[in-house]
Symmetry: D2
Subunit: 404 residues, 4 copies
């Protein structure tokens, strides 16, 4: 006694591999499909459509299948409204809740398709009157109307083909055997374009390796040039940047000679103490204690930053947000209106940011470790570009191109 | 106009490379040394001693040198008491504060050497009457007496040579080209020994890769056998373990077939919601919802665990500690009396734990990524052993040996 | 003034992503396509077909496009015979020669489709009367008829979907976060199946890391069990295996204790000298000098091996083939009738073997370095499976399963 | 019934860790030592000396110990002449032959210390009258007098401390978290110095990744500037460089756009065929076929190159040496009088070259994979410097510095 549903898929079904994925989802569950109707776009610009009838052994299998197919842009032929159930308690969702992707999503409320606000991954959709928004599990309130199942949900996955002049050439597998200068050129052009349009932000997510590999000088130039609109980091980036500004070392290694210095192992603790003494970074700058570096240029040029704490932190600095829920909110606020996000040598902050980003934001991950780049790209969607290279040299070249 | 200080070094100056490091520290600053007297141990068991006169160009250079030399076990010939200065504010240390290592440390208070309590890395030493203890920078209180400079501080770095039958053979560079079965044998013996003596704890620090690589079954066996006294982890280990127990997948991949399942991308969110619904993990077990897995066996066998939050968490689970300062305290409490600490596939929690561990605790890092193992070993001291291998297969073999 | 060609594609156009790749090839050159006709398979088992009209700006662009499309199984609607040109000199091909894939290939000779012999990658096709075979560039003889362009060439890329019970679950991206025990089970079953059928060979390509990681004992068991029909390796595997058999070390590290031994750095040279003294490995065995290990069991159980030389070899052993052209021939002879090829921790010999293998042979690459696995998989085709794990532990588990 | 030998060690016993290694060798065998006399250098410039009495359980243990101690610069107090035995056959050494290091070595022949010629690793020492030279095992001739045991052998390991202004700062562990610009500066200075002195050669060992990562343009500049005296490579570097010069792709990827091109998979075969058609690279240049790239600039500027074949080669090019014994001889000839050797992204050719290099030649290994750098450094000695970075960006920066 099987359950049947008839679905319509449309878009770049072939170019984006969507049809392939749809078939995979269905057959992976033991269900079967039949293509009732299909039309492949005659030219590159035309989209394709297919009507597919799915027969599943059980209702629950069909529900699982629909959860996945909806995310590929598939819709039932007979549209219905979303099914809503009240949250049974604060921070608890009803069973069978719909869990979001990072793609633009609409829900059908009383016959009308409504765009969901605050789009992000792994959230619930809460409907309030004719409005719908993504809400994190821990933030849902008892009694709020939560979307359950995939009925009445419509997702628009982004088309994979980017415009000419963009990063089209990087959309293949992660590799250290690439000509990175080409990436730098494209990136510099995109950043210039975003700054020229003036509507979106360029956000940088950076780990302390930026400091260790000699990236402070080019970062100062990028900040001074107004190329960056916000920095997301942890305690360590700021600590080592300040260590370098105050004591000319990072992790105890002399910036100019590359050699360890006596007493250098304590330098990061001395840097933290110096800032704590003044109260925070801006006050240390005001007092004339901190006179250069990434954090200094952020404050000087009015570029906001968020420092998220972590379990491995020393100190931390006064502005490090130690509560992870608060830190996530602060990160989320920063990436609103982001046009491009650069992730430099930090898996932790990079994945955290990726979880919050809608798939319409171009994301570029730069790391010397291919495993990190692969992991960041796997979690993202079509818009994520991975570059395996030396972060310090990369920043030098990027600052040269931006300033040229 | 140079400053001079005469120092005595003793111990396994040659075998542990201490004398070499002492000379390096001195000459690296532009200071010079003269060996006034030296006696090399005639046999393996005898220690060596040297009296060294250091001439530094400036007082501050000498202070920097002393910060480093003290940590190598060097003492001035003329002993003095520690210099104390009051903390100028809560969470702020006096300039020039002594920053600790993870080695056993004594301070000289009114002519008496006193062992410092709560030994850990990168802390201050606070003296209260005749007692001295390590205090984290953020916890120091205004007016507390903080050790400044290296005067009157004595450190005992651990001898590198471990007893026969131990991990002596692994104390060379990190490599994936090793016979891991030998490591498993040694580790199983050490764990058995610790359990037999019954004085110290076996603590496991574990990342979610343990679940993905098939480590749940051997972990269940190790927990059931009483081989583990505590687990330090993040939200993700518990989430994927519970996802696997409830839905038979980890990160949406079927545990038995290795294939993705429909709707699997939401499974970790469903697992989190299930636990939140019951209140916490023990209540979910009590209610019969959670019936196997790592977390289940922890609760069943009374093995305590700490789940530290992180910026990239979904949920999190109710027991995840979201404030990093609190999480650090909970971790620190768990590792008290640890005899051996195993770090399995987690750089974040591994480094965090390493920062808290005194150097007298044997630490074994297991990861398939050599860069992670190298990083964990570099931050530790003589007692840290790195193994590059597949964590799932490693746990299988370890459980076999322990249960045999 | 464009050139037009009408083509037919058929097969699992959607499931294997072929149609997507066809569109990519065409639009990547500046050419355009129009889908004249298309029929998507209604169910999983039905194939799809499409008739596509390609308009290219120039004849040479169309030729380039055809070189690629033919390899995806595409055929012109109007079939023609292959175009042949004589090789201008020994070891030189005519311009525009067709360069082969590792997929089954037919050429149309006087109206008849003929299967090409000796299928391998990057070869020429030489036609002699009604026979066609792959010939390496350096082996072509002056005047031989070489296929030029893609006209009259038909390729059958393998369907990606493997049978149930096979490695279907591993056909996703390379990752170290996998449950390797599942792979071992599948592999053991496949090997058992091949041995039972008795038609195809199980070939092992192995690097010296097999010895260093403790893989000799399980290899001995696999050889004794008759599970392996041939070994492809370099000088180093044999040297370190023999070093271990004679002196109980590999690269000077004691096999039982894991510690370096005095004089150990010379052990590999002593092993080489011992074999040279006797003449070769079988003679050393006959003389009672070599009594266990991988090479010993190869000789004892009549399992053939090829040792290819390399630029970094010491010695080499008498049976190492120092000329690379000869070594390639010997490798190619060994893999004839291979049913499964296991590549263990050796990029050099693995890629060399991959270049020779038709895509119908299942290939499994096992290495602890994900970059090596990715590289080996990228160069292969649908049949290549990558496993990131510890080779020594993997072999232990495989030998247990095979012998069970 | 133990055997005793009294030994003298002198040099930078502490700074270079020699004494520590000596003790390790002795105690690792079960033998014991007693330090009869010791004098530690009073200042940095003074050397230290120690007289050590070793008691070994057996004569053969003592012989093993001596094999290792000699290589650390240790000498018996009572000097004896070398022991010589005739080679029993061509390519076979007498049992117990002394196997060389890459450090300067002398042998005592009839009371006179004679410097050994052709110093390299893993060779025999053959004495002919009053001359001694390193001979590879395969080249020894029947009856030649081969040094057996360590008696009468004296080795001078290089002091680890390099001069100021050199790579002192890089002599620590391999890490990707370094400021590479500092390395480039030092390297450019060293190359300039060597070129100015005009006595030694700058040799480059390069893999095909140099081409893929955009290193051709900077390589052309370095060759044009006369900064390089010879190139050691394999078939692949030349093939991809020529592919790029002829068809503007490397491995089928367009050099300017970074995108794959139609028919690109055959481009490397077309490049090989083009050169074979002309006979060799210089003839292809003469004929006007090859007009730029690395190989073109080598020929144009008279910079010699050696292309060694390998098992994975396609083609190969006519100048690729397919016999590994011949290729080793050609490599060895090229590195005579080398002052600095740069190894760029090639483990195979890098290790092969390292095996031949005396330890007095500065060697710099550059690779984006830390495992490769570690492996190359481990096999070398004090003079080997490892840099983990992006090779293309590194070459750009180096060419800028050299040409500035």
């Amino acid at each position: 006694m099987t359950t049947r549903k008839t679905l319509r898929a449309s878009g770049h079904l072939i170019d984006d591999g969507l049809l392939h994925k749809i078939f995979d989802v269905v057959t992976g569950t033991g269900a079967t499909y039949e293509v009732i109707e299909s039309r492949i776009g005659r030219t590159k610009d035309q989209t394709s459509t297919a009507v597919i009838q799915v027969d599943a052994p059980e209702e629950s299998t069909l529900a699982d299948i629909m959860q996945d197919l909806v995310k590929l842009g598939v819709e039932p032929v007979e549209t219905a409204s979303v099914v809503l159930e009240p949250a049974p308690a604060d921070g608890v969702a009803p069973d069978g809740f719909y869990s979001t992707t990072n793609h633009p999503t609409e829900v059908r409320i009383e016959g009308t398709w409504t765009l969901v606000d605050q789009q992000r991954m792994d959230a619930l959709i809460v409907v309030d009157g004719d409005r719908a928004s993504c809400v994190k599990l821990r933030n849902v309130e008892k009694g709020q109307a939560v979307v359950v199942g995939a009925e009445g949900v419509r997702v628009t996955p982004p088309a994979k083909d980017l415009e000419d002049g963009d990063f089209g050439f990087m959309n293949s597998e992660v590799s250290s055997e690439r000509h990175v200068a080409l990436v730098v050129d494209s990136l510099a052009k995109q950043i210039a374009q975003i700054k020229k349009e003036g509507k979106k932000k360029v956000i940088l997510v950076a780990g302390p390796v930026v400091v260790h590999t000699g990236g402070v000088a080019p970062m100062e130039r990028l900040l001074a040039a107004g190329a960056i609109d916000g920095i997301l980091a942890g305690n360590a980036l700021a600590v080592h940047d300040i260590e370098r500004a105050l004591l000319n070392t990072s992790l105890g290694i002399d910036t100019n000679t590359g050699q360890g210095v006596a007493g250098g192992h304590c330098h990061h603790m001395r840097a933290i103490n110096e800032i704590r003494k003044h109260g925070d970074i801006p006050k240390a700058i005001e007092a004339g204690s901190l006179t250069h570096g990434i954090m200094y240029h952020c404050v000087k040029h009015g570029v906001p930053y968020v420092l998220a704490g972590s379990l491995r932190d020393d100190g931390p600095l006064p502005e490090a947000i130690t509560d992870m829920n608060e830190a996530q909110e602060a990160y989320a606020a920063m990436i609103e209106d982001a046009g491009i996000v650069l992730i430099l040598s930090t898996m932790l902050h990079g994945i955290a940011t990726g979880n919050m980003l809608p798939s319409t934001v171009t994301t570029v991950c730069i790391d010397i470790n291919p495993a990190v780049v692969t992991k960041l790209c796997d979690r993202g969607s079509a818009q994520t570009i991975g570059v395996v290279t030396d972060v310090g040299l990369f920043l030098h070249m990027l600052a040269d191109r931006i300033n040229a």
